[in-house]
Structure formats: structure tokens, C-alpha cells
């Protein structure tokens, strides 16, 4: 561990400056009231847990306080890409 995480704004910083935010691209539902209990529970409680590339959210909490997304390999900890909120998930080989 002790990753060097490249904040899209501040550049590489020690992981201790960051706050982990779980899986990326899990949007707050447009209209929660329209969802069944099961659909709502899926939003609340279900997340992917892949071995390999994982798009996840990080916040540079001890720095610029920006949230961003990272593509991290959960097996090797390599961060293949970081991208700002709103940007599409980059395609990696």
C-alpha cells in the first residue's frame, strides 16, 4: 500500500491525503419514489467487487477537496487512469 494517487488537480499525492468513495458511476436514482424496494436496495447496498480494473471514486480530502474517479486494478493497486467527475470512464486495454 501507500499508493501515490494522481489527483487530477494537484498531481500525485500520498494515499493518506485521500478519502475512498467506493464504486464510481452509481448515480443517485432520478426518482427514488418510483423504484421498488428491491431496486432501491440495489442502489443502496449492492456494489461490484471485481478482481482487476475497477472504476472508483476518491476525494482529495486533505488537498483540493475535489472528488474524482480512478481506474484501479484491485489486484495490483495500479491506477491506470484518473478522470474528473462528469468525464466518461476512459477505455483502457
Amino acid at each position: 500500500m501507500m499508493l501515490l494517487i494522481p489527483c487530477p488537480w494537484c498531481g500525485p499525492r500520498d494515499e493518506a491525503e485521500f478519502h475512498y468513495g467506493g464504486q464510481a458511476h452509481v448515480a443517485y436514482p432520478e426518482n427514488p419514489a418510483a423504484l421498488s424496494d428491491e431496486e432501491w436496495a440495489r442502489y443502496l447496498f449492492f456494489r461490484d467487487n471485481p478482481k482487476g480494473a475497477f472504476a472508483e471514486r476518491w476525494s482529495h480530502s486533505a488537498g483540493c477537496r475535489r472528488w474524482f474517479n480512478a481506474l484501479r486494478d484491485t489486484a495490483t493497486n495500479e491506477i491506470h487512469a484518473v478522470y474528473r467527475v462528469g468525464e466518461p470512464r476512459p477505455v483502457t486495454s
Binding site: M1, M2, L3, L4, P12, H19, G21, A27, Y28, P29, N31, P32, A33, L35, D37, W40, A41, Y43, L44, F45, R57, S59, S61, R65, R66, W67, T76, N77, E78, V85, G86
Partner: protein, 956 residues
């Protein structure tokens, strides 16, 4: 014994030390091990399980045997004598396997430092020095770390007579290190062991800075320093460890790695014995034999397991009159407490093992099974290891990190080869090339070694593999006999490799013995995982300066010094120190106890006027045209309808509907709000707001800014608070009509610009006065000067709010509690289409009957204080009136809930508690039981609002 000359010790100075009660001397440049050998000490430890005598086996950090206890100047358990630099006044003793921790506190300083470099070179042997010099020649930032006190690595022991660039090896090393040190961007760290290699080229090292000074170490200098190094590129020039061979009696004192004996001679000027036998599978031991013979050691024989060492070596052997027995092995080392004789015989297969055909008197048995590259750090980096059949050992493969291995650590075994390989690695490091691009070793290994690990025998009970753990080949056979195949399992079954040398000499030997037993190839079995730390590191070094008051930050308010000076005891809330209660000195000189102090403070707040430092509340400035909309989405209740000038209490939930935080919202202007959060959650709430703004609702035009410490807050509480405020703020209309509950006013209080809020967390008439934290001392003093006001702390605050049934997030809630569970359905808007948590309030789980709900509890004994956390059980349990001694209910009784808050109330004249109880709001009036110790304490469930439920007191 010490020679008259030779080696790198300074014979002009004598160091005195004591070992096992005997006085000895040594010289600067010695290790404890070299000085003990010079003093003729053979046994320096006793093995942990079998109590066998153990001597000095190596000359470095791979030492498995010579583990000693340092007694003075400061007790340290279990240090290899080979790594302890000698100093004057050292007192050490031999260890029966385990050491003793110091009983007193360690007076030394320890610290840590971060460092960054373009190239980190680990190891200052020929390859490392060449790598560092090449990298530094371009002006790059280079760190060169080496665990020895002086640079040179193998040049100090193995290659003392070799000439490099016109200088003797050790002189070249000294000169090169000096050249490097003089460069502004190069840092040369001696006595520094890199012990951990983590992601993104983050390496951690320990520098032993004053250990070698003994009692003379200056107190202000950190004894050990942890270096946290972030390197663009790493060159590992970590050298090799010589391999032992397992044979009967291979743990006797006097059995020593051949290269280490050579180091004792060449580096320390010490002869580790008088009469030696050499047992080898490798050419390098011949060099050791020749050096020792030339220095006067009688080398009785060289036993080479190979059929022939080659003509050149044979000639050198003959020249010295040494007996050479090729194709021979040691069948046993024998002696009482140390090697006295060596039995040898022709090397034969296991089915028909060698028998003793020769016996040699010897006090020294030098062993070399070849050399293992030190690949520990490389493996920790995530690098793959490859088993090289020729070398019979693991060599570095590729790594995903920017690292490469140079010199002997990747199998190069000549000095010129190491120098060239190091220089090339240093140059490549700057080019940023990946390790995979490194060319193959300059020199193909020429030692002609034969992988040879253990002497076949019919009985393996004295073939030691891990000498620190007393693990023999026979033990490994028991493991494989039990069906174990994985070296990881065998390690745990036998404890081989788990001692504090972490198997540096025993790891591959274990694999070899297991492979031998199973008839498998070593490369298939592999080796147990290399983990940090490479060497044991003291907890003191790892803790560094994070001890005592610096262990964890303490946050204080601007009034902290006043609180300290006025008898406050403090409660930790997050990192904050908050006054818990103020302890008065009683008339008789005794100090008030907590119960008395809190009852006094509570009475003042309910009957007179009291004040509290509420500055730790989180404060967030929220501004923007969409601020109202944003707060509507965050809070369960409606905030956009709040009038400018007014204040509203609000609750925030997580999307799962569970209470996250609560506080007040002040509307400063149409587009401008100020929120307060709970003390512990200030940062979390701001992060929460930013998370939603940035990731979900970027179109909302809102900015949030923390002002927690910009503003200090004084809560002025009690029926007479209005009177005190009026006196200090003559310009402020304070009547209920002019200044209603849940509104705020700008005013000067005690001449200080202030925002005064009519908020109450006690049910009493109360004002919260906010001024800048620079000015709050003046405000506080001015209020105290009124002579009417009693300061109170968090305990009183808790009692007052609990009497009113106000929950504390994190005390009365635990992440499974909805606002409805707290009896606060009124704070959950029915009008808003959505807010965070709303959808969850209709989930099956949140609407089910039997959820735990906040209630009040009155113990039937009004003096009995329920411990917080006490579980509650129902009336189903048969119980007599009062306390049931020894009547703990049967195990099947369901727990209905637990006590979350419990206090003595001055206002109620009794004890009371808050609790989360299953279906609690339908149990009002019911009697429950609280098991406390052996007793079942009867309690009555009541409303959670116990004091002034009509709210008659808030306007004074």
C-alpha cells in the same frame, strides 16, 4: 584471535565491553561478533527449543545463531551480534532463544523523515556505488543507503586485495562515497537498512544514528530514524547471502559460512579459529581457505562435493599443502559445545549414504553451498522471482515497478562484473527504462557451483535447517510425511523461517530439503513470501515521535487556557478537548467530585444562569442561489421556507434513512445560510455536502465553506440568561417579543460584534453568542465578570439535553436509527418530493414493527445509575420486586435494547436514562429489566422527554 595487523579496525583505540559477565576489549570498526571471536568466545547463545550451544555463523544481518541481549546502556532484546557495532561500555549477554524487553521507558528520541529522489540505490557495495555514481553524475537526486557503517559491501571482506580504478577496493569505496556525499543532490545513508518496499516505489528504511555511540549518544539526536522514501527509480544492489549446507551437527559453534570467515579475517583482522576444515560446493570457499591459510590458520582439508574443482584451484591448494578431497562431504561435525573434529566421506546417494572415512581435528568448519541473491526487497516490490537451475537459487525476474537489480543480487559474481552492471543500472535508472530492459548479467556466473543443499544421511535429526527455530531436516520430513506439500504450509507447521532472521539462510534450504523429500524440483515449490520488514525494526523507531502528547492531535478552542486555569476536567470529543465539568475547591480544601460538580452546574442552568464553550460545533457557510434547494435535499425537513433572520433545527440522513448528523440552520440572507454540525462530524458533513454537490448535483449553484474555527460560540443558558445578555448588549432588544425563540440578531456584546442566536439545547431560555475566535476570551471574561454565571461542561450539557429527550448523534444513535425511531417524525417532511433518505423510510425494514425506538427509563430505585450500554430484557422474565440476586435470565431471553445515556438529574431529583428499545414507543409504562452484574434492575419505560414536556421554560 586478533591479528597484529590487517583489517579495517582502529587498533590505536580500545573499546571495553562485557559479555556474560566477562570483560573483553575490541576496537572501533568491530562488531560485537568480531570482538567476541577475537576474544575467543565460541558460544554466544543457546537454541530456543533444544538448548543447544550456538556460535557465530555469519558476519552480517543474515545471522541465525548469535542472537544476544544488550543489557547496557539500554536493554534491547535479541540483536544479532553480527549487526551490533561495538562501543565502549557495551554490556551484553547470551540468550537462551528469547530476549527480555526493557522494563523502564526508553529515554531516547526516535524520529521519521520523508525523502524524495530520482534514484534510490540500496546497497553500497561495488554495484551500488557504481550505480549511484552513474546516476549522480547527471545531477540527479540520489539516495544511497547501506546497512553497514562504511561503504564497500563485498569489497570490505571478500575482495580486499582487488584494485578498482587504481585504488584498493575498500579505499575506492570510501573515496567514491566521499565523492557522492560532496554532491549537493546526493544523500549517502550509512547504517541504514531499507526494510520495506511498497507500492509506487515507496520504500521505508531505518537509520541507526546513535546506537553505535552507546552511552555517549547525544540525547537530542534521534537514536533511530525511519526514512520514508518515494523514489522515481530504484536500484537494488543488495548483494548475496551465502548458503549453508545441512549435515549432522551443522549448528555447532565453530561451523561458519566460508565467506563470513573471510570477512572476519579481512575486515576485522580476526582469525575465527586455528585449525579449519572447508566444506564447499562452490569455488568461492577456496578463496576463503587460501586467505585464512595465508594468515596462519591451519587448513586441514578442503572437502569439495564436486568431482573436481579444476586445475587452477587444485594447484593453489597443493601450493599451500592443503588436503583436497573432491567428491567428499562432511558426514558429521562433532565436539562438546563446539567443533572439535570433522568426519568426512565420499559423497553418496541417500539409499547408501556416505560413511566417515576421514576425521580431521578442527575448531572451525567453513561451509559454502553457494550464494543466494538477496531478493527480499525485489520480491516485496511485486517483482517475480525465477528459479535459476544453474545457480540453484532464486534470481529476480521482472517487476511492474520502476526497479532493477544490479550486481551480485542478480547473480553477477565478479567484481568487474558488479561494477559494470551497477554503472549500467545507474544510467538506465535515469533513462527511466523499465527493469525488463536490463540486459542479462555481464558475466555469466563462472563459479561453477553445484547446487548442493544437504548431505544424504539415514538420520536427519541433527541436520539443522533453521537454527534459530531448531528446525531440522527430520522435522521437515515429519511435515511432508503428514501430507504437507506447500512450503507456506510447511513453514507454519514446522516454524522454519519464522524466527526474527525470517529465514535468510534457511528459506531456500527448507525448500531444497522439502524438494529432496518429495522428489520435486525446487523451482516448482518456490519459497515462502518475502515480507517487510527485511530486518527486525524496533517499535520505538516505528512509533517515532508519535508518542505522548504528539501521538494524536489535540484540538482546543480559544478558551482552552481559561478552562485549564479554572479547574476543568476534559472530555475527548473526536480530537477536541472539551471541558467535561469544572471542579471547584471546597471550603475544606478538598476537590469537588464529579457528581457534585455536575449537579451544581445543572442547577445553575435550570435555576439561574450558566454558560458553556460551544465553539467546537461545526460551522459551514452555505451560499448561492440554489442554497435553499440544496439544503432541502440534504435535510429531512424543509429549509428553503425558513425566513431570513430565523433558525431551524434539522436532521441529515444517509440514503439508507439512518440519522447521520443534526444541527441548526440559520438563514443569513435569501441565498445565504450558516449550518452547525455536531462536534465530531464537522469535517464529515462538509465532505458530505461537497460529495453531493460535486458528484450528483453539479448544476446546483452553491458554495460551502468551513468556518468552524472562525467563530467561537458561547451558550448562555438559564432563566436569568436574558438578564446577563441585556447587561452586556445594551443595544439588543432581548424580550421574547423582540427576540423570539429560533431567531438571531446581530449585536455588540461586551463591545464585540456578535451574532446572537436564540437556540436551546437544554429547554431553558438560552442564547448562543458567536464572535470571532480571536475575541471570545474577552466575551467570556466579560460574562464571568457579571458575577452571575456558572461555567459548565459537556456532562452537564448531556444531562440537560437528556432530560429533554434530545438525542446525541453517535451516542443515542449508531447508524441504524431513523429520525422516526428517535420520536422525531415531526422533523421528516411530508411535503418534499425527495430528500436524502426519504425513499428508505418506506422500506420494509424501516416501517416494520419492533424497531428500536428512543425512550426514557426510570430505574425503580431512584438512586440507581444504570451503566450506559446495559442491555434490557422484558417482563417475560419472572422477577420479584426489586433486585433479583443471582437471577440472571435464561439465555433465550431476547434483548430488547440497550441504555444509550444515563445520568443523575438535579431537576428530576433522581436518576434516569435514555434507551433504544424494540417497539419502545408502545411500551410506555412497561417494566423492563436491566441485568447489571448479577442483578436484574427493574426500570420503567417512559417518554424520552422527562423534563418540561410542555416546553414552558424556553422563553424564561
Amino acid at each position: 584471535m586478533r591479528r597484529e595487523s590487517g583489517g579495517r579496525v582502529d587498533r590505536s583505540r580500545t573499546l571495553r565491553f562485557r559479555f556474560d559477565g566477562q570483560d573483553y576489549t575490541g576496537h572501533p570498526g568491530d562488531t560485537l561478533a568480531s570482538a567476541l571471536l577475537a576474544g575467543g568466545v565460541r558460544q554466544v547463545a543457546t537454541s530456543v527449543k533444544l538448548g543447544r550451544p550456538r556460535g557465530i555463523f555469519s558476519a552480517g544481518s543474515e545471522e541465525p545463531n548469535a542472537v544476544v541481549q544488550i543489557e547496557e546502556p539500554f536493554p534491547e532484546p535479541m540483536l544479532p551480534a553480527t549487526t551490533v557495532e561495538l562501543y565502549d561500555g557495551l554490556v551484553a549477554s547470551s540468550l537462551p532463544g528469547q530476549g527480555r524487553l526493557a522494563t523502564g521507558p526508553d529515554p531516547a528520541r526516535y524520529d521519521a523523515v520523508h525523502a524524495h529522489c530520482d534514484v534510490l540505490v540500496v546497497g553500497a557495495g561495488p554495484a551500488g556505488l557504481a550505480a549511484a555514481r552513474a546516476a549522480a553524475s547527471t545531477g540527479a537526486r540520489v539516495i544511497l543507503a547501506d546497512e553497514q557503517p562504511e561503504p564497500g559491501g563485498g569489497l570490505l571482506g571478500a575482495w580486499p586485495a582487488d584494485v578498482v580504478e587504481g585504488l584498493l577496493g575498500a579505499e575506492w569505496a570510501t573515496a567514491t562515497a566521499a565523492h557522492l556525499k560532496a554532491l549537493p543532490e546526493v544523500r549517502v545513508l550509512a547504517r541504514t537498512t531499507v526494510f520495506g518496499y511498497y507500492d509506487d516505489n515507496y520504500l521505508v528504511a531505518v537509520e541507526r544514528r546513535t546506537n553505535h555511540l552507546g552511552a555517549a549518544a547525544p540525547a537530542h539526536v534521534a537514536r533511530e530514524r525511519i526514512w520514508r522514501i518515494r523514489a522515481r527509480h530504484v536500484v537494488l544492489a543488495t548483494g548475496t547471502h551465502e548458503r549453508p549446507i545441512a549435515f549432522a551437527g551443522n549448528d555447532l559453534p565453530g561451523v561458519m559460512l566460508a565467506g563470513s570467515a573471510r570477512t572476519y579475517l579481512n575486515r576485522y583482522g580476526v582469525l575465527p579459529g586455528r585449525r579449519a576444515v572447508v566444506f564447499t560446493a562452490d569455488d568461492s570457499a577456496y578463496a576463503a581457505a587460501f586467505d585464512l591459510a595465508d594468515a596462519g590458520v591451519r587448513v586441514a582439508a578442503i572437502l569439495d562435493v564436486r568431482p573436481s574443482p579444476g586445475e587452477a584451484l587444485a594447484r593453489e591448494v597443493a601450493k599451500r599443502g592443503i588436503v583436497l578431497l573432491a567428491g567428499h562431504v562432511v558426514t558429521a561435525a562433532q565436539g562438546d559445545g563446539q567443533v572439535a573434529s570433522v568426519q568426512a566421506g565420499r559423497h553418496r546417494p541417500e539409499a547408501d549414504p556416505a560413511v566417515a572415512e576421514h576425521a580431521f581435528d578442527a575448531d572451525l568448519l567453513l561451509v559454502s553451498g553457494g550464494w543466494n541473491p538477496v531478493v527480499h526487497l525485489f520480491s516485496q516490490s511485486g517483482g517475480r522471482l525465477r528459479f535459476d537451475e544453474t545457480l540453484g537459487t532464486l534470481v529476480p525476474g521482472d517487476s511492474r515497478q520502476a526497479v532493477e537489480v544490479a550486481g551480485a543480487a542478480r547473480g553477477v559474481d565478479t567484481l568487474s562484473g558488479c561494477l559494470a552492471d551497477g554503472a549500467a543500472a545507474g544510467e538506465r535508472a535515469l533513462g527511466g527504462q523499465a527493469a525488463a530492459a536490463a540486459p542479462p548479467p555481464v558475466d555469466v556466473p563462472t563459479a561453477g557451483g553445484q547446487a548442493f543443499w544437504l548431505v544424504p544421511a539415514s538420520d536427519y535429526a541433527a541436520h539443522f535447517v533453521d537454527m534459530q527455530r531448531d528446525v531440522t531436516v527430520a522435522d521437515l520430513h515429519r511435515a511432508t510425511g503428514a501430507g504437507l506439500r506447500s512450503v507456506e504450509h510447511i513453514k507454519r507447521y514446522t516454524t522454519a523461517g519464522t524466527a526474527h532472521d525470517q529465514g535468510k539462510t534457511s528459506g531456500l534450504l527448507t525448500t531444497a530439503a522439502v524438494a529432496h523429500a518429495l522428489g520435486e524440483r525446487m523451482g516448482e515449490l518456490g519459497i515462502t513470501t518475502f515480507r517487510a520488514p527485511y530486518l527486525p525494526v524496533s517499535f520505538a523507531a516505528l512509533a517515532g515521535r508519535d508518542r505522548g502528547p504528539l501521538h494524536d492531535p489535540v484540538r482546543v478552542t480559544a478558551l482552552h487556557d481559561w478552562h485549564v486555569a479554572n479547574g476543568a476536567l476534559f472530555e475527548n470529543v473526536g480530537h477536541w478537548k472539551r471541558p467535561w465539568y469544572y471542579q471547584r475547591v471546597l471550603a475544606d480544601g478538598r476537590l469537588e467530585d464529579m457528581e457534585t460538580a455536575v449537579l451544581r452546574e445543572c442547577r445553575a442552568a435550570r435555576e439561574g444562569v450558566a454558560m458553556m464553550d460551544a465553539s467546537t460545533l461545526g460551522k459551514i457557510d452555505v451560499i448561492g442561489p440554489d442554497a435553499g434547494e440544496f439544503l432541502d435535499r440534504l435535510y429531512t425537513n424543509l429549509m428553503s421556507s425558513l425566513a431570513v433572520g430565523s433558525i431551524r433545527y434539522g436532521v441529515m440522513c444517509r440514503p439508507d434513512g439512518m440519522v447521520f448528523d443534526d444541527g441548526t440552520v440559520i438563514r443569513l440572507a435569501e441565498d445565504h445560510f450558516l449550518l452547525t454540525t455536531t462536534t465530531g462530524n464537522a469535517a464529515a458533513v462538509l465532505d458530505w455536502m461537497e460529495e453531493w454537490l460535486q458528484t450528483e448535483w453539479p448544476s446546483l449553484r452553491v458554495y460551502c465553506t468551513s468556518v468552524t474555527e472562525q467563530w467561537a460560540t458561547v451558550a448562555l443558558v438559564g432563566p436569568r440568561s436574558r438578564e446577563v445578555l441585556a447587561g452586556l448588549a445594551p443595544g439588543l432588544a432581548v424580550s421574547t417579543a423582540d427576540f423570539p425563540f429560533m431567531t438571531w440578531r446581530e449585536a455588540e456584546v461586551a463591545g464585540i460584534p456578535a451574532r446572537v442566536c436564540r437556540i436551546s439545547f437544554s429547554g431553558e431560555l438560552a442564547f448562543e453568542i458567536n464572535v470571532t475566535s480571536w475575541e471570545v476570551s474577552r466575551l467570556w471574561t466579560a460574562i464571568m465578570d457579571s458575577g452571575m454565571v456558572t461555567p459548565y461542561g459537556t456532562e452537564t450539557m448531556h444531562v440537560l439535553r437528556a432530560e429533554k429527550g434530545y438525542p446525541i448523534v453517535g451516542q443515542d444513535t449508531d447508524g441504524t436509527v431513523t429520525p422516526q425511531d428517535l420520536g422525531m417524525s415531526w422533523v421528516v417532511s411530508k411535503k418534499k418530493a425527495d430528500f436524502i433518505g426519504k425513499r428508505s423510510f418506506s422500506r420494509a425494514d424501516t416501517v416494520r414493527a419492533g424497531r428500536k425506538q428512543l425512550v426514557g427509563l426510570l430505574p425503580e430505585d431512584p438512586d440507581f445509575l444504570l451503566p450506559e450500554g446495559t442491555q434490557l430484557v422484558s417482563t417475560d422474565v419472572p422477577a420479584t420486586v426489586g433486585t433479583v440476586r443471582g437471577g440472571a435470565p435464561p439465555r433465550t431471553v431476547p434483548t430488547l435494547g440497550h441504555v444509550t445515556s444515563s445520568y443523575r438529574s438535579a431537576a428530576l431529583g433522581r436518576t434516569f436514562a435514555l434507551a433504544l428499545v424494540s417497539g419502545g414507543q408502545s411500551r410506555l409504562g412497561e417494566r423492563l429489566y436491566a441485568p447489571v452484574g448479577d442483578a436484574l434492575v427493574p426500570v420503567t419505560v417512559t417518554s424520552h422527554v422527562l423534563y418540561d414536556p410542555e416546553g414552558t421554560r424556553r422563553d424564561g
